[in-house]
């Protein structure tokens, strides 16, 4: 206690003593104010960063006044610093014999040739800007510092998307840099209503996060909810948007994704335009968007770039594929184990003949094949690219031909497993596809117990579960349950663009009109030739 009261008393005294006190008692709270003597500041930085080799301190003189430039090598644009900062500071011509001359203001106004310049008064801000790539200038005799926006260094260039591919449509994708990502979105939505709210998460990593939404379109309630959930987070680090996703989602106990993520700026932009909120995390090329609904995971970007009849049929195909991926093997198990009468007679005989030499029941056979396939898939993902080819050949040979010839599995089973696997890849968003992959095993077990009844029980529990989910307060099965007619324009049938008149009701409450009237294209009238 005595120490603490001492501490408060000392605060009244000169700030020169602060460093000393720090040395004596490292557990004491650090004094936040910058010292007047620039040398003290420099030694403090050096001490606190442990003489890190990437910390560059350049002492210089501006006329007669000493000062120092501090920045972190690798985070800054080195050429910019030497050209526009050091050069201009050193060549500055100071006005003579002016009693009111303020060097600090002079530097801010006349010399520092950078777009964004800030005055810093405490150490927290100083470290924030220093470690995010700004250059800090200390001047002797001032208890404040100048921070110049000199962010730079190496970053990955914008490349083609690797996860969510499309035939038609833009080919750029997000990178690991937050500013690049927000720029990619802003380039598409040139409206002052697009808001970018900055935040910082991670007590150690101090990761930059930005919440994006379009004012007037996004539902204020949802924006507020997102903001609250993000500010509530107390964690040491955020490595990817995946961390954030798990910290803000509504329900942990579900295999279905309740937040949407994409690496495509066009997808995120269109989500914003529907009234959703996007969350960009620095260091992650995947941008989150919330609220997410179930049907959204079956909408590929292509759907909107090609004509509606084609995209509708492809989308229906995709939904069918999802169902196959979910219940394909369990249907096979149920039909061969319990409901042989459902299969046409000739096919039933053929299957029975093939299965004659297989020693396992259908369930074990299916389970084996599925697990082997999942292993192959995971191995294919992790293997160095050079060996990847070998694995696929071995996989195809081993689980395809050899297993059948060795009478471990029947050929029909191989077909079922392959179709299931292929079908699984047609879901546009991986998070949804992997959910089907997992649930498939549960359904297989149910169908091995009681056939179709088990599958239906499984699907029913799934339906109940899906209906009970919410994403940021929006029911997950919207617009199917609760049903609304407006929402149907983009569920099973993708309406023509001119007919998608309104934004989804559950996202934006007031500003819902998307198109003008009479947007349907028509041939010119009165031209009969």
């Amino acid at each position: 206690m005595a120490k603490l009261s001492n501490l408060f008393n000392k605060k009244q005294k000169s700030k020169q003593n602060d460093n000393l006190r720090q040395k004596l008692d490292p557990s004491a709270p650090k004094e936040l104010v910058i010292c007047r003597d620039y040398k003290d500041n420099i030694s403090r930085i050096k001490e606190e960063m442990g003489n890190s080799s990437d910390l560059i301190i350049r002492e210089l003189k501006i006329g007669p006044y000493p000062g120092a430039l501090v920045f972190i090598d690798g985070l800054v644009d080195g050429k910019g610093i030497s050209d526009f900062l050091i050069e201009s500071i050193m060549s500055a011509e100071l006005p003579d014999d002016n009693p009111d001359f303020d060097l600090f203001q002079f530097l801010l106004d006349n010399t520092v040739a950078f777009g964004s310049v800030k005055t810093i008064k405490n150490w927290n801000d100083l470290y924030d800007s220093l470690l995010s790539g700004c250059t800090v200038i200390f001047l002797n005799g001032y208890n404040k510092a100048i921070s110049c926006e000199t962010r730079g260094g190496d970053k990955r260039a914008i490349s083609e998307p690797t996860q969510q591919l499309s035939i038609r449509g833009p080919k750029d994708s997000f990178t690991e840099t937050l500013r690049t990502n927000t720029a990619l979105i802003r380039r598409r939505i040139k409206s002052p209503n697009l808001q970018v709210e900055p935040m910082k998460i991670g007590t150690v990593t101090g990761t930059d996060v930005a919440i994006l939404y379009i004012k007037g379109i996004a539902n204020d309630k949802i924006v507020k909810e997102v903001r609250e959930r993000i500010t509530r987070i107390k964690i040491d680090s955020i490595m990817d948007s995946g961390y954030l996703e798990q910290l803000i989602e509504d329900q942990t106990w579900t295999s279905f994704p309740t937040t949407f993520h994409s690496e495509r700026p066009d997808v995120i932009s269109s989500q914003l335009l529907e009234g959703r909120v996007a969350i960009v995390v620095d260091g992650s090329p995947f941008v989150l968007s919330v609220p997410a609904i179930f049907v959204q995971f079956f909408q590929a970007p292509d759907d909107y770039y090609s004509r509606f009849d084609l995209s509708t049929s492809i989308r229906l195909l995709r939904i069918l594929a999802f169902l196959i991926a979910l219940i394909g093997p369990s249907l096979y198990i149920a039909a061969t184990t319990f409901h042989q009468e459902m299969i046409p007679t000739t096919l039933a005989i053929a299957i029975a003949a093939q299965r004659e030499n297989v020693p396992f029941p259908a369930f074990v056979e299916a389970l084996m094949m599925e697990i082997v396939f999942e292993i192959l898939r995971e191995a294919g993902l992790r293997l160095p690219r050079a060996v990847g080819q070998a694995v696929s050949i071995v996989g195809a040979l081993v689980i395809g031909q050899a297993a059948v010839e060795a009478s471990i599995v029947s050929p029909v089973m191989v077909i079922v497993v392959s179709i299931t696997a292929i079908a699984n890849f047609s879901t546009p968003v991986f998070a949804m596809a992997i959910s089907a992959r997992l649930l498939r095993f549960a359904l297989m077990i149910l169908s091995a117990f009681i056939g179709f009844f088990g599958i239906m029980i499984g699907l029913m529990i799934l339906t109940i579960h899906l209906c009970s989910l919410r994403s940021f307060g929006v029911p997950y099965m919207m617009p199917l349950a609760p049903f609304n007619w407006d929402g149907q324009q983009d569920v099973f049938i993708r309406f023509p663009v001119w007919a998608m008149k309104k934004r989804p009701k559950f996202m934006s409450k007031d500003n819902r009109l998307r198109t003008g009237t009479n947007q349907k294209p028509e041939p010119p009238k009165g031209d009969s030739s």
Binding site: G451, F452, M456, T463, I464, H465, L480, P482
Partner: protein, 380 residues
Amino acid sequence: MEKAKISAKQLFVVVVLFEMGSAILVGLASSAKQDAWIAILLGMVGGITLFLVYHRLFVFYPDLPLTSYVQKIVGKWMGRMLALLYIVYFIYIAGRVLRDFGELLTATIYTNTPLIFLITILMITISYAIQKGFEVIARVGEIFFIVVYLMAIAGFFLIIFSGLIHLENLKPMVENGWMPIIKTTLRETLNFPFGEMIVFTMLLPYLNKPEKARVMCISGMVLSGINITIASVINVATLGVDLFVRAPYPLLATVSKIQLAQFIERLDVLFMLYLMIAGFIKVAIFYYAAVIGTADLFHFKDYRKLTLPIGTIVLLAAMFMAQNYMEHIKEGLDVVPIFLHWPLQIMIPVLLLVIAYLRKKISQKQSLADVSQTADGADA
């Protein structure tokens, strides 16, 4: 009571699925032979009249379920006894419906599987839904509604294109006079399924727009009545009167007759899908009503604690209410309507309405008297 709110659309969907429920599966009104459809329509009209009684009660007490307002109408102790009686009734009917579905499954597809196994699994699924609350049940209902309708439309066209419909089977109409039809109506179709709307007295307070309750419920009843009628007409037209009367599950017999293009056949799986959905909704509604009724009567804050115990009771009731299927059916046709449905669906609600009406009249008179007294006082 749970803090749930459902929309008018959701109420409609739940009513339709609930009413169609098992009525479409069993040979409803088969004692009226080829005139079953007339009995169904008459039952529907009677059911709507009954519903108006329930609705009137709801208008008197728009925020309360049956188990609460019954205590206000006939007094605390009498009311509590009645509420308990209704809870037991809901549990019993839930058990009956569950047994119906279990029997259907064991009789048709799972001939070697023990009944208890099948209905336990079904019950676990339903308990899960109850645990999630009524809003979720309503949403699940919406999805199932779409599935059922797609299936029904597909099945309807398949039957027509298979050339199975022989409308002459419906003739002669009213062969034995109106008496058997009216008898069937009063003993069967009025109570089951239309009188079962009594369970919605527990659920109407959840509606977000109470003024729409009447329109939505009645239109739901009409739609389901029409559907059951169509199903019954198709059954008779496809199977003929003899088979229709004898078959325990005429719709299953009809569906398994579908044969088209040497490819579409054995559509029993469609039937089973419907069976599961209908069973789910119907048991879930009764079960849920019993659960929230108990929570309401015994002042439980969280109804979820009751899901498991009441679920177990429903399951045991379903298991032990009858030795075998014949006994189950006999009870259902001869005992339950007279001793359970008639008193609980018709007599008590009508009586309650009369008492509630009189109470209101008296209290109005009293307040009028008070007003006139004060007016007199002012005059003096």
